[in-house]
Symmetry: C2
Subunit: 117 residues, 2 copies
Amino acid sequence: MADNPMSNAISNTPQPPYNAVIFTSLRTPGDRGYAGTAARLAELAQAMPGFLGAESVRDEHGAGITVSYWQSEASMRHWLEQAEHATARQLGNSGWYEDFSVRVARVERAYGKERRD
Amino acid sequence: MADNPMSNAISNTPQPPYNAVIFTSLRTPGDRGYAGTAARLAELAQAMPGFLGAESVRDEHGAGITVSYWQSEASMRHWLEQAEHATARQLGNSGWYEDFSVRVARVERAYGKERRD
């Protein structure tokens, strides 16, 4: 999840199709409540209907990519509304991120080391 | 690009729709030719028709996410063939990755700090 170490690095998502939110960001220095909010967002996501998993990495330069996976367009949209509500002030004020991008996508095919699909 | 510092963290992709390859991985310890191959793959991607950009992060635990963006399904497929050809032995022998996942997706909407879209 967001900014947690990926103890289980790869989400064990079901067969596609499903939906994905690709969040790429570059953090500003300093925490200013970020870690706490990120942890709450991660908990919130996991509790939401249609949540399939998430993968998150941030490097020592503050560059991060978090991808969350959702069962349906509706569950993904619901999540986006919740996440935007929870982070609206911070994103709006640009306090946490030097830059960020949200991309909403439909996963059509997937395979892995074990050719899980 | 793959495992390079993201000096320009966020790819300045055009208006959706476009295609994306989400590659999540957990590296094994040691290089064994990985860095060189990753750099060559990054160069190869940038030279390919339809390449729109890429974002890549790897953390200190070896967890990484690289997302590359492609103008069309055809250009993305072409890239996947090239990348799989270039890494076939290593992926097959599991030399570099403890685990990995490739997800092929269609980006439908996007927005950023500047609401670029």
